[in-house]
């Protein structure tokens, strides 16, 4: 008898979705899908608006990564008006962005992904949350996460207005600089962030790397895909969140493309499926070959581990040391273990903290030369940043008056949509055998996509109640024969 398992909604994912798992007569997984209700029509919603409104509107797409949209949109306006921001403006933008990456990465590690490892993938569902993490590592760690997050957000508020509705980026610059007094305050935040990054990497070492079962889980083939990887790199091919060229490497780590943001359409195309509103970007030169990995597939992964795989290293010393240790443990570069995205996230948080300090120690950061006023006529612009969840592209067209005539956004979760679909199916096939389905196994299927930190903006903002996980097992007639609820 064929069975159909439904997990809906997915727990601890930013947004919501549903996994459907179809079993064959032997009780093994035949197919698995991740379906996400997406809001439609943002591009249409934008047309006819003045382009300069976009850095204020696009952060509203999602309450999870407003700063990433704000920054991609701001860079898109630079490109649209053909204006080069001043050096100080770029540094101030990168400073805000570093603070954002820190708070976002730790939120994911400790609150979303952390419970899988710190509490354990097989632990009861009721314990696989931040409260379970506190139970394992103590109240002080959670207090420290919340304190650092608050400090980063206060820093962002000082510089950019409300965290959720930043009013900071302008074409050619920023709306506000920082004083010497603020610089000294922010340096304390940077020092705290560097220390906490070291602590978090040590915690990962103690909790995950010293646990043979967890290491085996990370390296389990059920959680691996040999794909292409993509990310922004600086001129030395080091990871950069704010600017640079987009570099793409093959599953063997060989550079197969490198391009400026404005040229992205020569390298990236989008595939559509009838069962989803999400588009599936792929490498144009290779083409769409379906949901499959390998060098012959156009599927490309984005986000922390992909960025590390794409780059030649990290631009700061402590992050570089952590980077080298990660690849030594994972057996070289590129690493294909999806669960290692969590580790790469901590390496990146270390880099963001060190970079924040570097920027603050640069005397130019307090200069009042914060904007180059645009003088050109707007036409077409592209802005790319690395969001916590992967590469984020904003592409606008306007008339001579700067009124939007066409908009295209490719968000980070788009890039990982095909890999997530592949990872969910492979994990389900690896974990569920002979019709044996339980709470822990289903969580291990969810872990496959949680590592990507996907963000599917909520279709509706709803009451802050308890997040349920429901697994329904249907027979071939659609009748529910088993229900797992927690």
């Amino acid at each position: 008898m064929s069975k159909r398992i439904t997990i809906n909604p997915i727990t601890r994912l930013e947004g919501h979705g549903k996994i459907e798992i179809f079993l064959n007569d032997a009780g093994d997984v035949e197919r698995a899908f991740l379906q996400v209700p997406e809001l439609r029509g943002f591009e249409t919603f934008s047309i006819g608006r003045p382009a300069e409104e976009m850095p204020r509107i696009t952060p509203r797409i999602c309450g999870v990564c407003p700063t990433a949209h704000h920054m991609a949109s701001t860079k898109c306006l630079d490109s649209l008006w053909h204006v080069e921001p001043t050096s100080t403006a770029k540094k101030l933008r990168e400073l805000v962005y570093s603070a954002f990456m820190i708070e976002d990465h730790y939120l994911h590690f400790y609150f979303l992904g952390g419970p899988d490892f710190v509490v354990g993938p097989g632990a009861p569902a009721a314990e696989r949350n931040i409260l379970g993490v506190i139970g394992k590592v103590g109240v002080d760690v959670a207090s420290e996460v919340i304190r650092l997050r608050r400090e980063c957000r206060q820093m962002m508020e000082t510089m950019a207005g409300k965290v959720i509705h930043p009013v900071f980026g302008l074409p050619g610059g920023v709306s506000r600089g920082i004083s010497e007094e603020e610089r000294q305050e922010f340096l304390k935040v940077a020092e705290n962030a560097i220390q906490f990054a070291q602590f978090s990497l040590n915690l990962f070492d103690d909790v995950v790397l010293k646990n043979e079962d967890y290491v085996n889980l990370v390296l389990n083939d059920a959680y691996a895909h040999k794909t292409n990887y993509m990310g922004l790199v600086d001129k030395n091919n080091k990871v950069n969140f704010y600017e640079g060229d987009v570099r793409v490497v093959s599953p063997e780590g060989k550079e197969i493309a490198r391009f400026a943001p404005r040229d992205y359409m020569n390298h990236i195309a989008e595939h559509v499926e009838p069962w989803s509103y999400i588009t599936f970007p792929y490498l144009k030169n290779i083409g769409w070959k379906g949901f499959t990995d390998g060098a012959d597939s156009g599927v490309v992964r984005s986000a922390p581990l992909a960025r590390c795989n794409t780059a030649d290293g990290m631009a700061t010393p402590l992050a570089q040391a952590a980077y080298e240790k990660m690849y030594e443990t994972l057996g070289g570069k590129p690493a294909h273990a999806t669960l290692a995205f969590h580790w790469a996230r901590l390496v990146e948080a270390q880099y963001a903290a060190e970079r924040m300090k570097e920027l603050l120690e640069d005397d130019e950061i307090t200069s009042d030369d914060i904007r180059a006023v645009p003088t050109e006529t707007p036409d077409e612009g592209v802005g790319i940043v690395e969001a916590p969840r992967g590469t984020l592209i904003h592409h606008y067209f306007t008339d001579d008056e700067g009124i939007l005539t066409k908009v295209n956004l490719i968000v980070a979760t788009n890039f990982n949509a095909a890999p997530i679909a592949m990872s969910v199916e492979k994990a389900a096939q690896g974990m569920i055998k002979g019709g044996k389905v339980n709470d822990g196994l289903l969580n291990m299927v969810e872990m496959a996509f949680r590592a990507y930190d996907p963000c599917h903006a909520c279709a509706t903002h709803s009451l802050p109640g308890q997040m349920p996980l429901i697994a329904l097992i249907h027979d071939s007639t659609g009748k529910v024969i088993q229900e797992i609820r927690h």
């Binding site: 209700p37 509107i57 309450g63 919340i146 959720i164 709803s462 109640g465 997040m467």
Partner: protein, 157 residues
């Protein structure tokens, strides 16, 4: 966390102003704010989850305004909850951290958190397209929603 609030009561509206009816609580709180009330802070946010910890800490009492899509009530129905309801109710929340978890987290971390939280929600149809306007049924139900919120605030101890 905040321990220096100048007022003890917060009206916190959750929603997104470019997602159609999801903005109903945001519209309501703007009107309540204009009507004004001594000793009450009025705040709106697109955030939820952990952000609630920061927004609500330091207050004694909070009235949370939000939208909900249970699919079991007619659109425009006004529903009142307490946090305890969410331990039993099958919530439609899509966020990674629910209110019960936030309250428990505050307790474990000894964060000054409200003793009284009341939740007033309006049933909406899930919005699937971006929009900056409320649909007619939600617009029609808005005065009752504001009236109910005002009554709750007046009845606060």
């Amino acid at each position: 966390m905040h321990t220096d609030r100048s007022t003890s009561v917060l009206v916190l509206a959750l929603g997104n102003d470019i997602k159609g009816d999801d903005a109903v609580a945001l519209e309501a709180v703007q009107i309540l704010k204009k009507e004004g009330s001594e000793g009450i802070d009025f705040v709106d946010t697109i955030e939820s989850g952990l952000a609630l910890l920061e927004l609500m800490s330091g207050y004694d009492k909070v009235l949370l305004l939000d939208s909900v899509s249970t699919g079991v009530h007619p659109v425009g129905t006004i529903l009142e909850f307490s946090p305890d309801d969410f331990n039993q109710v099958l919530s439609t929340c899509r966020h990674f951290m629910g209110l019960p978890e936030v309250i428990e987290l505050a307790k474990r971390l000894s964060i000054d958190f409200p003793d009284e939280i009341r939740i007033l929600a309006m049933e909406i149809a899930p919005p699937y397209e971006f929009s900056q306007t409320l649909t007619a049924p939600i617009r029609a139900a808005l005065p009752s929603y504001i009236q109910k919120a005002g009554d709750l605030l007046k009845s606060r101890g």
